[in-house]
Symmetry: C2
Subunit: 231 residues, 2 copies
């Protein structure tokens, strides 16, 4: 029965893989249940049987993509905080903890690398209210922790200013993920050749400079009440 169950779950797996590939290529809205079942070689009813309805499949795909990233971000942040034992950590290390998991978090999908990034980028461009509640909540907890930690590393940057810079950072990140795996346009050559790892390195330097901007010049209140950050 053990291996039977596994064998049984194959079509469900194929459905999921087909859905992820199509979602990555065309976006969630542009993919029909019929597209998915056709690609998976299954019956039209298969999605409803295995996942309830289309919406549920979408939510499952989102959380499978996002949750591992969120968890690894948390873990890496804790590790950085432990390493600096309460003291202010360098911004670069925290940005690394925030960004690196995009490439390294354990994948539940079997998507090729660039497609995986593309799908992640799509998801991060989605408004949080259409995310699964649990994934959104974890994400909020995570960003909250990063905000607090960043506030400690940049005590001269006002909290509300930090919220904005964090928004700019997250926006640039989502854009970067979509950039990877561009079909065939000028400028793509570099992206494809370089790979996400190198892009992340560049991005960290870029965002770190932006986050730090003005710290040695300005005179501001030292870290007001932490402002909320919603992605």
């Amino acid at each position: 029965m053990r291996e039977e169950k596994i064998a049984r779950s194959k079509p469900k797996q194929q459905l999921l893989e087909a859905a992820e590939r199509l979602f990555a290529e065309r976006g969630f809205e542009a993919v029909s249940v019929r597209d998915i079942t056709k690609l998976a070689g299954a019956n039209v009813a298969a999605v409803n049987y295995h996942f309830g309805d289309r919406e549920n499949l979408v939510l499952l795909v989102i959380s499978r993509m996002v949750d591992p990233v969120t968890e690894e971000r948390m873990a890496r942040l804790e590790s950085v905080e432990k390493k600096w034992s309460g003291k202010a950590a360098p911004v670069e290390e925290m940005l690394d903890a925030l960004t690196r998991p995009l490439a390294t978090a354990k994948r539940k999908s079997t998507l090729p690398e660039t497609m995986h990034h593309r799908l992640l980028g799509r998801i991060f461009s989605l408004p949080p209210e259409i995310w699964p509640d649990l994934s959104a909540e974890r994400m909020r907890q995570m960003t909250g922790r990063f905000m607090r930690a960043l506030g400690k590393s940049l005590p001269t940057v006002p909290a509300e200013e930090l919220v904005w810079r964090m928004h700019f950072t997250m926006g640039g990140m989502a854009h970067m993920l979509l950039l990877d795996a561009l079909p065939d346009k000028p400028g793509k050559s570099q992206a494809a050749a370089v790979g996400l790892d190198a892009m992340i390195g560049r991005f960290i330097r870029f965002a770190a400079a932006g986050l730090r901007e003005g710290v040695e010049v300005e005179e501001t209140k030292p870290a007001g009440p932490q402002a909320t950050f919603d992605f």
Copy 2:
């Protein structure tokens, strides 16, 4: 007949306004022709009569939103270049030329300000291949000019590195536009209260720091062949 024509063109105008409002609120894909005509108080066939087909209306909305921004960006860049008469201009001034038009470009739509920004943000998050050819081409010319000008202002930053930083910058910008006019979430208070103008100021400082990162430290080839930037 003159005022007749004007009076006659009213329903077309109402169609356009209805479309823009709904596109801004829900995104292009989620709005049906029937939604638009209902809101405009017109017949279902009105969109096809006045605009040919739905796709055409979408393209028209996009170019009406984007083209004025592109033109003003060009104009401002030229003005900056003239002001510095060929010498390298400060990055902040060029970022201002790039970003300020988002708020100041002449609006062809009658959308309330925040809705207008939201729609712009949606459009900038769209892949260029679904833009009207002409708008995309103008946009490419514009980004090309900015790339070259930025290369002159940041001679120690390698051209390909600059392409990446430009991507991060554009991504953060699109994100910022979507952030404005967020429905009713925590963190919105600040966005709504501050308004786009103040956001732009913060963004310019953020992006300028990121673009300049490492200029006084690194030793690099002085501006190689300009790399292409596709948005």
